[in-house]
């Protein structure tokens, strides 16, 4: 009665569940956990990638909402919409990145979503301040990863020390990608994490282009400003954020450039 193949389906359902819960999975860990070979796990991940559940990497996979590919957000509950806009916001960044660029990728949840898509770009140099994100880059891209405080080498070992000043002096940052919590009424760019405030203030001054990502307005009691709206070139907003910020952006000489299902992109017409 129970066909042998139901074990296959069950395992794939289990993997879908694990990747949905953890956000990321590793072939090694899944193989241990589910007691099947690496080859089997890789086949399962390929299947789940075809089903739109995840994006594969060399040693594992990262979760993407299966919804994202098919339909729009208008009628779905907010948590799902959020999942979709995350990926879309991250993907919208991609068109600004060219092979060979030096990127400063700020810490955060949205910037992390961008990482799996970086495999399409060649010879990137990525400067980061988030060790977990830095390790993820290693899986998806052959980019040179420079971590503030050190360089990430093979086996995820941190080599030598890089302070902010030496990074600023040694590398010309072409793009600074920063996740914003809000833009306040004085057009200040607000981030959630106060520790990174000074780093970002400096990077904002020293990079050629800056792309700000904004998912939705966060209500923050402490406002950690890293600079002014006029100092960034591109803002990418989720649909939820568009209603908040559209007029403010237009008043600051931004123009709406691209619209897709989950996000909108604005360019600073005056440049920086």
């Amino acid at each position: 009665m129970a066909k042998a193949s139901s074990a296959l389906l069950k395992r794939r359902l289990d993997i879908a569940k694990i990747v949905r819960q953890n956000g990321e999975v590793k072939v090694d860990e899944l193989s241990d956990q589910l007691k099947v070979s690496h080859v089997t796990i890789r086949q399962d991940l390929t299947y789940l990638e075809q089903q739109g559940y995840l994006k594969r990497s060399f040693g594992g996979a990262i979760y993407i909402s299966p919804e994202g590919q098919v339909h729009n957000s208008a009628t779905i509950n907010s948590s799902q919409t959020k999942g979709n806009s995350d990926i879309d916001l991250a993907k919208a960044c991609l068109s600004y990145i060219n092979d060979g660029d030096t990127i400063f990728l700020g810490h955060g949840f949205l910037t992390r979503k961008l990482i799996p898509f970086l495999h399409k770009k060649k010879s990137l140099r990525i400067i980061m301040n988030d060790l977990r994100n830095a390790q993820l880059v290693r899986e998806f891209s052959d980019a040179e990863v420079i971590l503030i405080g050190g360089v990430l080498c093979e086996g995820n070992i941190i080599k030598s020390c890089n302070d902010l000043i030496s990074i600023r002096n040694n590398y010309a940052i072409s793009h600074f990608i920063i996740e914003l919590a809000a833009i306040d009424e004085n057009n200040d760019l607000i981030i959630e994490n106060s520790e990174q405030k000074e780093t970002y203030q400096q990077i904002l001054k020293n990079s050629k282009h800056t792309i700000g990502l904004l998912l939705e307005r966060s209500l923050l009691t402490d406002n950690h400003s890293i600079g002014k709206l006029k100092h960034i070139d591109v803002t990418i907003l989720s649909k939820a954020a568009v209603t908040e910020y559209h007029h403010q952006l237009l008043n600051c000489n931004f123009k709406q450039i691209a619209i897709n299902k989950y996000c909108m992109t604005y360019h600073n017409l005056l440049g920086t």
Partner: protein, 322 residues
């Protein structure tokens, strides 16, 4: 007994060929749209009997979808689990009857709004007070749909709820590998199993074993109640008594003028499961389920033959068992 049933799966509109043996490759007349979808018919029948039932599905933001939702709402189904999408249209099916009440289908399910049904649509809050899940085999049409069903199944099982399963095999869906793979998985969790006569051999261990042997094995594997649906011939119940020996009950069906067999098995299942959960004796549940099926085949349209307890009792008082 307090219970609330949940069903998950396809909600669609159906168009019936006007003539029997009408072909799909030649222009002909169709009657419809009729609200349809096996789990939807099941839910509608449960609601008609006056029991609480919630249904999870997806429709398009079109008139077909509106029609389906309005109909289920009117009959008392809790429709909070039905999502309206603007990017896909409501599912549809075209049906033509061949001789000997065989039917031909063209389905548009996996590519329609109900094909979008997934994990995130199964809202745990809405399942809070559900005690029973009914699984239709026809609703397991993709990995995504199975993933959604599994969420509902896990939630309900973890709360100590029960599961019923109707394989509802369709030849048009045999090419979906995941569907076949999911059957073994669902069977492991099934408490009430509702195959139709011709589906029994699919669940047999050996080709030459009797229905009784097959059912014995399934009961020993943990299924508590099995009803083999035989249409007008009636139904066979299999269960284990206190001594763990096989208990079999046959209850005759009713001969009525068959107008449209679609949905009859779903009505039968819904009535049997509801009444069993409500604490009716198995014999009565089977008898009422037979009536429910008979009333369903005598009406045109898949969901048009759902009936209330009053209608069932009325029918019983007018008919003697053949």
């Amino acid at each position: 007994m307090e219970f609330k049933i949940c069903t998950v799966g396809e909600l669609l509109v159906e168009f019936l060929a006007k003539e029997s043996n009408q072909r799909f490759d030649q222009t002909g007349e169709f009657i419809g749209p009729y609200p349809s979808g096996a789990p939807a018919i099941f839910a509608d029948q449960v609601a008609k009997l006056g029991f609480p039932v919630i249904f999870f599905s997806c429709v398009g933001k079109d008139s077909f979808g509106k029609m389906c939702i309005n109909r289920l709402k009117k009959d008392g189904v809790i429709i909070d689990g039905i999502t309206s999408h603007s990017m896909a249209n409501t599912g549809s099916a075209f049906v033509s009857y061949q001789d000997h009440s065989d039917r031909d289908f063209i389905f548009n399910i996996p590519n329609s709004a109900c094909g979008l049904l997934s994990f995130n649509h199964i809202d745990e809050k809405l399942l809070k007070d559900c005690t029973h899940l009914h699984v239709m085999g026809s609703s397991l049409y993709s990995f995504r749909a199975i993933d959604a069903m599994r969420k509902a199944l896990d939630i309900i099982k973890n709360k100590g709820g029960t599961i019923s399963f109707d394989p509802n095999l369709r030849k048009e869906m045999f090419n979906i590998q995941e569907m076949e793979q999911s059957f073994g998985y669902i069977m492991e969790y099934t408490d009430i199993f509702l195959p139709s006569e011709n589906e029994v051999c699919y669940f047999a261990q050996n080709n030459d074993e009797s229905e009784q042997q097959t059912m014995s094995t399934l009961l020993n594997n943990g299924i508590k109640h099995i009803v083999v649906k035989g249409g007008a011939k009636g139904a066979n119940y299999y269960g284990l008594d206190e001594q763990k020996s096989l208990k079999m009950i046959h209850v005759d069906g009713f001969n009525v003028n068959p107008v449209d067999p679609t949905g009859a098995g779903d009505c039968f299942g819904a009535t049997f499961v509801s009444l069993l959960l409500a604490g009716y004796p198995v014999e009565t549940a089977l008898q009422f389920a037979n009536v429910s099926g008979a009333l369903a085949v005598s009406k045109q349209g898949p969901m048009e033959g759902t009936s209330s307890l009053v209608e069932i009792k009325q029918f019983l008082s007018q008919h003697t068992t053949v």
